[in-house]
């Protein structure tokens, strides 16, 4: 039996943390993440969650604390956003290359200046090379589901890597949506207590983690994590499929395919705005355009095979980016092109930075322009990304 409730995204994540029976939580407040750990603090205080809650003075220490907890064998969770995530950067690498299966919620928020608490994906995508598995939800239900799945994926002995679960600031974090929660007993059976892997530190059995060694040791550790990430692609699909047994729902693994079967025009994006893109796809489909959406759920490991498959039947692809690498182009655009390179022309549109809203009818306009440009042969101009800034009036 599932339970139907209405929760905001942050409370949905906290609920998943509770149902996962997390043992150690350490976090430092930052908008828009704060209410995740506030709610967890309430759960611990009320005795609903039997966890150690560690107050710390910074995000660097928050991740260091849960890293230590994970090395001690505990199931550990933290959450952050934006500047907080950047402050963790050094510890991200230590956690990932110690194979500490931590789960962290990242409520995506742009990075200053100017001060701005709204969503884009610069924070979570700027840490994509740190060795973490990185996922992103489309809606509140998925934020809950991904958080539970993250523990299973990260703790799987074929993977053993930390996992980030992203959800867009305010659009999901502070927006109430109906969702279904699985039974606690089903979750307990599906997500048993952590095994003592990859190793557990115990008093009286001293060893040093990450001590200095020959340079080859570094490359060997990178190779271990590389291989774990490659295996994670299969494990993520498997976990997503098995999740159906307790929740009645799965998403398709590393990506979700929306009306892609016969699509000649493929839009690629991730995050909450994909909900609006699906509406735009429906509208254009009703007008006869063969368009579909490939929604990325995991940026790491990257869905290489899925993108090649989607490109093989397509005429053109459009990558919608909410994060841009200055002097280059949208971050997903670079990644998609590096994978599908040469198979199809790829257009990149950068939009929605700093939380700028893009509505479904604007996506209709953006998608239609993309199709028109392809059909009129203007795709030779696609080498440069296009910035969508409608308030400026007219396009240049």
């Amino acid at each position: 039996m599932v339970r139907r409730v209405v929760l905001i995204g942050n409370h949905a994540v906290a609920e998943a943390v509770k149902m996962a029976r997390v043992q150690v939580v350490a976090a430092y407040p930052i908008t828009p993440q704060t209410i995740i750990v506030e709610r967890i603090a309430e759960m611990v205080e009320r005795g609903e969650l039997n966890a150690k809650y560690i107050r710390v003075e910074s995000e660097h220490s928050a991740l260091a604390a849960v890293y230590g907890a994970a090395m001690g064998g505990a199931r550990a969770f933290t959450a952050t956003s934006s500047h907080g995530l950047l402050y963790m950067y050094e510890m991200l690498w230590w956690a990932a290359y110690s194979k500490a299966p931590i789960v962290m919620a990242v409520v995506t928020r742009t990075i200053g200046p100017p001060w701005n608490i709204h969503s884009d994906h610069h924070d979570i995508l700027s840490v994509r090379d740190s060795g973490w598995i990185i996922a992103m939800a489309e809606n509140v239900q998925e934020a809950f589901d991904l958080t539970l799945q993250a523990f299973r994926i990260g703790e799987d002995k074929r993977v053993l890597q930390p996992v980030m679960v992203g959800l867009d600031a305010f659009v999901l974090s502070h927006t109430a949506e109906p969702l279904e929660l699985p039974e606690q007993s089903d979750v307990d059976a599906w997500l048993p207590p952590r095994e003592p892997l990859p190793f557990v530190m115990e008093p009286g059995k001293p060893f040093a983690v990450g001590n200095v060694g020959p340079n080859e040791f570094t490359m060997e550790l990178r190779w271990c994590v590389w291989r774990a990430m490659e295996r994670a692609k299969r494990v993520i699909k498997e976990v997503d499929e098995e999740y159906r047994k307790i929740a009645g729902r799965s998403y398709g693994g590393l990506v979700e395919r929306y009306r892609l079967e016969d699509a000649k025009y493929v839009v690629v994006a991730w995050g909450a705005w994909c909900g609006d893109m699906k509406e735009a796809v429906d509208i254009l489909r009703s007008e006869g355009y063969p368009i579909g959406l490939l929604r990325i759920r995991f940026a790491r490991p990257f869905p290489r095979e899925e993108l090649i498959e989607a490109a093989s039947g397509a005429k053109a692809m459009l990558v919608m980016d909410r994060a841009v690498s200055m002097g280059m182009e949208g971050i997903f655009s670079m990644e998609v092109k590096s994978v599908v390179g040469g198979r199809v022309p790829v257009k990149n549109v950068v939009a929605g930075l700093g939380g700028v809203d893009v509505s479904y009818d604007e996506f209709v306009e953006i998608f239609r322009k993309f199709i028109d440009e392809y059909e009129s042969g203007k795709y030779i101009d696609w080498t440069l990304p296009e910035w969508y800034m409608p308030w400026r009036g007219g396009s240049r």
Binding site: P198, F207, N211, C224, R227, A228, E230, R231, R234
Partner: protein
């Protein structure tokens, strides 16, 4: 597989994960063993010498030795393992009785 150039396509996930875990533990963790960096006593230019006539068996040298090469139990005189002592002189500095003299090696 053996060679200089490596690519990875997962096949047997369990087996390969076990192999990786063994490598990972080897490359990430260092278990304390005496002299894992070799006979570091050869690095020494100054040698700490304990003058037992001044020693009050307080154990400060044992407590402070950064290399864990001093053996001591309450009520006993400390002794230094010169195979691994690097001659840093911390013991000599912290000794409250001036009982540890740093002597130039080879003299």
């Amino acid at each position: 597989m053996n060679g200089k150039f490596w690519k990875y396509v997962p096949q047997n996930l369990e087996l390969e994960a076990e192999e990786d875990l063994r490598n990972f533990l080897r490359y990430l963790l260092a278990h304390p063993t005496p002299g894992s960096a070799g006979a570091t006593g050869t690095w020494r230019t100054l040698k700490p010498v304990i003058h037992v006539d001044k020693c009050v068996k307080c154990g400060m040298c044992w407590l402070y030795c950064p290399e864990n090469v001093i053996t001591w139990r309450p009520g006993e005189y400390p002794s230094i393992d010169y195979t691994y002592c690097k001659g840093c002189g911390v013991c000599s500095s912290v000794c409250p009785r001036g009982a540890i003299e740093m002597v130039v090696e080879g003299e």
